[in-house]
C-alpha cells in the first residue's frame, strides 16, 4: 500500500454536506499502470479524478502521490498532466503556443521549449501543425494536441476525463490505440475516466467499476468480464443473462439454487451468501450451448431470432425468464432453430455465477 504511486485512502467527498458522492474510496496504483475508472454518470468517477487533479478537495481521507500527501497542494504544483473532455485547447493561442505554455510557466528557455514542443508534436504525428489555431484542426487532431500538451512537460501521472467522447466511432478506436501506445512507450501512469466499457476493456491494465460512490470491482479487463464479483458489474460489463433464485445448499464451490419456477440448478458460489439467501445467477450468452449435455440442461422456448451475420442471436424463455439470450455461431453444421420450438440448452456450473441479489 505504501509503495503505491497513486493512492486513495478512505476518501470521501460531499458537495452539499448531506449526501456522499464518493463513499470510502480505497485505491492503490503502481507506477506505469493504465487504470480506467468506469461507471455510469453520477457514479463519482469524475469527482475522483478532479480530487486527484486538485480541482476538488476531499471531504475526508488522504490522497497520496508518490508517497506524498497531496490533499492541500494546489493543482499547479502537483505536476499532473490532464486531458479534458472538450480538450480545453486555448483558442487564442496557436498549437505551438498551447504546447509551450506548460514549459513557459515552468521557466524553461526558448530553445529547450522549442525542442520539446517539436518532439511532442512529432509524437502525435502533427509536426507541421505548430502554427495553426485549435479551431483550424479537426476533432481528432485537437485531441492529439491536447494529449501532446498534457505530456509535453513530462509528468509522471496523466489524467484523462472522457477524452474520446466527442469523436466518431472509427476515430475513437484509432485514438484508443494511439493513447495506449504512447502511454506505454513513455511509461507514464494514466488514470482514465470513461463510461464506455469497450474503451475501458481495450485500453486498460486494470478497470475500476464505479457505482454509487464506491468501487464495485477493481480488476484486469478479462477478470471483470469473466469473473464479475457482483451483479452490478455483471450487468454493466457486456451482455448477461440473469436467473433469480434462492440458495438451497452450498457444497465446496458449487451452490445449488432453487429458481423462481421451483426447478434447481447448480452455479459457482461467488457472492451469494449462505443457504437461504436470495441470489442472481449470471451467465454470459456465449457460454450457453444449444442441445448440448452437461450439468445444467434445461428446456428453452425460442421466442425470437435475430440474424447478425457471424452469429444468430436467440431470445429464449428459460426458467420463466424470457429475456434469456444465447449467441449461436453461424458455423458450418450449426443447428437451425425456429421461433416457437422448444430446444435443450446447457451450461457448465462454473460459467453460472451465483451473485448477490440486486
Amino acid at each position: 500500500m505504501t509503495d503505491a504511486f497513486v493512492a486513495f485512502d478512505r476518501v470521501q467527498k460531499s458537495y452539499d454536506g448531506e449526501t456522499l458522492v464518493v463513499k470510502d474510496l480505497n485505491l492503490a496504483m503502481p507506477k506505469g499502470e493504465f487504470l480506467t475508472m468506469l461507471g455510469p454518470s453520477g457514479s463519482g468517477k469524475t469527482t475522483c479524478l478532479m480530487m486527484l487533479a486538485g480541482f476538488e478537495t476531499a471531504t475526508h481521507g488522504e490522497i497520496r502521490l508518490d508517497g506524498r500527501e497531496i490533499n492541500n497542494i494546489p493543482p499547479h504544483k502537483r505536476g499532473i498532466g490532464m486531458v479534458f473532455q472538450n480538450y480545453a485547447l486555448f483558442p487564442h493561442m496557436t498549437v505551438g503556443e498551447n504546447l509551450a505554455f506548460p514549459l513557459e510557466v515552468r521557466g524553461l528557455g526558448k530553445d529547450e521549449r522549442e525542442t520539446k514542443v517539436k518532439r511532442a508534436l512529432e509524437m502525435v504525428e502533427l509536426g507541421d501543425f505548430a502554427a495553426r489555431r485549435p479551431a483550424q484542426l479537426s476533432g481528432g487532431q485537437q485531441q492529439r494536441v491536447a494529449l501532446a500538451r498534457a505530456l509535453v512537460f513530462e509528468p509522471e501521472l496523466v489524467l484523462m476525463d472522457e477524452p474520446l467522447g466527442a469523436l466518431d466511432k472509427q476515430l475513437r478506436e484509432q485514438m484508443q490505440f494511439e493513447i495506449t501506445n504512447i502511454s506505454h512507450q513513455l511509461g507514464v501512469t494514466v488514470v482514465y475516466v470513461t463510461h464506455d466499457q469497450t474503451e475501458a476493456l481495450t485500453m486498460s491494465d486494470r478497470v475500476a467499476v464505479f457505482e454509487d460512490g464506491r468501487i464495485q470491482q477493481l480488476a484486469p479487463p478479462e477478470d471483470l468480464y469473466e469473473r464479475p464479483d457482483n451483479s452490478f458489474v455483471a450487468q454493466f460489463i457486456g451482455e448477461n443473462n440473469k436467473l433469480a433464485g434462492k440458495v438451497k445448499s452450498i457444497s465446496g464451490d458449487i451452490a445449488t439454487v432453487e429458481l423462481a419456477n421451483g426447478k434447481t440448478t447448480e452455479a459457482l458460489a461467488v457472492n451469494c451468501g449462505d443457504a437461504g439467501s436470495d441470489t442472481l445467477i449470471s451467465i454470459r450468452p456465449e457460454r450457453v450451448t444449444i442441445g448440448g449435455a452437461g450439468a445444467n440442461v434445461t428446456d428453452a422456448l425460442v421466442k425470437e431470432l435475430i440474424y447478425l451475420g457471424d452469429h444468430i442471436r436467440c431470445r429464449l424463455d428459460v426458467h420463466g425468464n424470457d429475456e434469456f439470450v444465447v449467441k449461436v455461431p453461424n458455423s458450418a453444421g450449426h443447428e437451425h432453430l425456429s421461433v416457437g420450438e422448444t430446444t435443450k440448452i446447457a451450461w457448465a456450473a462454473e460459467d453460472a455465477r451465483a451473485l448477490d441479489a440486486l
Binding site: 487533479a53 494546489p74 499547479h76 505554455f101 510557466v105
Partner: protein, 441 residues
C-alpha cells in the same frame, strides 16, 4: 475532388455549351438562369429591409448631412428668407460686390460705405437687419444693435456716406467689423470650425488664437475626452468582476443578479439622475449619513454634486450596464476547463487569469469600452443636471448654442468635430484591436 470548383462542375442538369460556357438543360446560360432564380429572393429580402433603410435615411443620414452642411454654410449675410412666404432674396448685394472687387486689406472707401448704406435700405424694407446683425454678431459681439440702428436711419443718410455712417456709430470704421462682414459675405465658410477650436481670423485674414479669456471649446473638448475615458475606465473596473460573477454563477442566481444590473435600464434616465441628486447633494443622504455617523463634521460636508465628481458618479452608474452586458456575453461561454487546464499545466491562478482567461475576454472589453466611451462623449442630460459649472461636457455647450445663442452653425461645427473625433477613435480601435474582435452579444 476537394479542389473542384463550381466553375468546371457540370452536374446532371448542366451541359457544357460549344463556347465553353455552362448552360442549363434547355440551353440558357447558367449564370443568367441562376440570377433569374435568385432575383425573387433578393427582392423579397430588399423589401424586408426597405422600411428600416428609409427610416435610417430620414432620421440618420439626412440629419447628419444637414448638420455637416450647416457647419460650413450660413447664408445669414447673403440671402434673406421670408418666413411666411419662403421667398429667398439676395441681400447685401452691393457690399458683397465691393468685397469681390477689392482684395483683403483694402481700406473701406466711400464706395464701400455707399454700398453698405444702400444695402441697409434694402434690409429695412425686408425687415431683415436683425438677422443680418446676428450673423455678424457671431464673430464680433455688439454688432447686432449697430445694424438695427443704422438700418433705421439708412433712408435718411446722405453722401458722403462714410462720414454719415461714422456719425451714427464710430465702430463702423472698426477693421474687425469689416473683417467680419467680409468673412460672412460668402455663405460657405470654415469660420465656425475655427470658432469651435477657439480660433478666429484677424483683421488681415490670418488665423489666430482668440483671447485666452474667451477660449472655452478646446478646454471643453479636452475635459469631455478626459471624463469619458475616466468614466469608461471606472465602468470597466467595476463591471469586470460583476460580469465574471454573473458568468460563473449557476443560471438561477445569475438571472436574479442580472435583473439588478438591468434595473437601471428600465428606470427613466431622469429619475435615476435626480435620485443621484437626492443622494449626493450637500444636505443629501450620503452626507447626512456621514455626518450622522460622526465620520464627518457638519461644516465639512463633501461637495459631490454640481462638479465633476457628480458627473462621474452619475454617468458611471447609468453607463455601467453597457459595460456589464458585453463582458457577460463574452465570459458566459468561456468554459471553466480552460482555466483548469492552465492550472493543471502548472500556471498559478494569477497566470491562468492573465494568460488564458483575460485574453479571451478582450473582445467584450473592447465592445463595452467603445460603447460606454461613445455614449459618454455625447452625454447631455446627466452632466446638465448634476455637472454644475465644471462638470459640463461639450454636448451641453452644443445644446446651449442650439437653444440659447441660436448659433446653429457653431453648434453644428462643434458636433461635427465630436463626430469626427469619435470616428478617429473608432478607426484607431480597429487598427489596434480589430473591429472583427468586437463582440456585443
Amino acid at each position: 475532388m476537394a479542389d473542384m470548383t463550381a466553375g468546371n462542375y457540370t452536374g446532371p442538369a448542366g451541359t457544357e455549351g460549344a463556347a465553353g460556357t455552362l448552360t442549363t438543360a434547355d440551353g440558357k446560360p447558367l449564370k443568367a438562369a441562376l440570377n433569374a432564380a435568385q432575383s425573387k429572393a433578393r427582392w423579397r429580402a430588399f423589401f424586408l429591409v426597405a422600411p428600416l433603410l428609409a427610416f435610417v435615411l430620414f432620421t440618420f443620414v439626412a440629419p447628419i448631412g444637414q448638420l455637416l452642411q450647416r457647419s460650413v454654410h450660413n447664408p445669414g449675410f447673403t440671402t434673406h428668407t421670408d418666413i411666411s412666404s419662403g421667398t429667398q432674396t439676395p441681400i447685401m448685394v452691393g457690399l458683397r460686390e465691393w468685397f469681390d472687387n477689392n482684395p483683403l486689406g483694402t481700406e473701406p472707401d466711400e464706395a464701400a460705405y455707399a454700398a453698405l448704406a444702400a444695402d441697409l435700405v434694402v434690409l429695412r424694407e425686408l425687415k431683415a437687419p436683425g438677422s443680418v446683425g446676428t450673423r455678424i454678431n457671431y464673430e464680433r459681439s455688439g454688432s447686432r444693435s449697430m445694424f438695427t440702428k443704422a438700418a433705421r436711419r439708412a433712408q435718411k443718410l446722405e453722401p458722403p456716406f462714410k462720414e454719415a455712417m461714422l456719425d451714427l456709430d464710430e465702430d463702423w470704421a472698426d477693421p474687425e467689423m469689416w473683417a467680419a462682414m467680409r468673412g460672412a459675405s460668402s455663405a460657405y465658410t470654415f469660420n465656425f470650425y475655427l470658432a469651435a477650436l477657439d480660433m478666429t481670423r484677424d483683421v488681415n485674414g490670418e488665423i489666430t488664437q482668440v483671447d485666452p479669456k474667451r477660449q472655452v471649446y478646446v478646454k471643453l473638448f479636452q475635459r469631455t475626452l478626459f471624463l469619458s475615458l475616466l468614466i469608461t475606465f471606472v465602468c470597466f473596473v467595476l463591471a469586470y468582476p460583476i460580469a465574471h460573477l454573473l458568468a460563473t454563477l449557476p443560471l438561477r442566481y445569475s438571472n436574479l443578479l442580472m435583473i439588478f444590473v438591468l434595473l437601471p435600464f428600465w428606470t427613466s434616465l431622469l429619475v435615476r439622475t435626480t435620485s443621484w441628486m437626492v443622494l449626493l447633494q450637500s444636505q443629501g443622504v450620503v452626507n447626512d449619513a456621514l455626518v450622522g455617523a460622526n465620520i464627518l463634521a457638519d461644516e465639512n460636508r463633501i461637495q459631490m454634486m454640481y462638479n465633476q465628481t457628480g458627473t462621474i458618479i452619475a454617468m458611471v452608474h447609468i453607463l455601467l450596464p453597457f459595460m456589464v452586458l458585453p463582458l457577460y456575453s463574452v465570459m458566459r461561454p468561456i468554459n471553466p476547463s480552460y482555466v483548469r487546464a492552465a492550472r493543471s499545466l502548472g500556471a498559478t491562478s494569477w497566470t491562468a487569469f492573465r494568460r488564458i482567461y483575460f485574453p479571451q475576454t478582450v473582445p467584450g472589453i473592447g465592445a463595452g469600452a467603445l460603447l460606454v466611451f461613445i455614449l459618454a462623449v455625447g452625454y447631455y442630460i446627466t452632466p446638465a443636471l448634476v455637472g454644475g459649472a465644471d462638470g459640463q461636457l461639450i454636448s451641453n455647450l452644443i445644446a446651449f448654442h442650439m437653444q440659447k445663442s441660436l448659433n446653429w452653425s457653431l453648434a453644428a461645427a462643434l458636433a461635427s468635430i465630436l463626430l469626427g473625433g469619435v470616428l478617429v477613435l473608432y478607426w484607431l480601435y480597429d487598427r489596434l484591436i480589430g473591429i472583427d474582435n468586437l463582440k456585443l452579444g
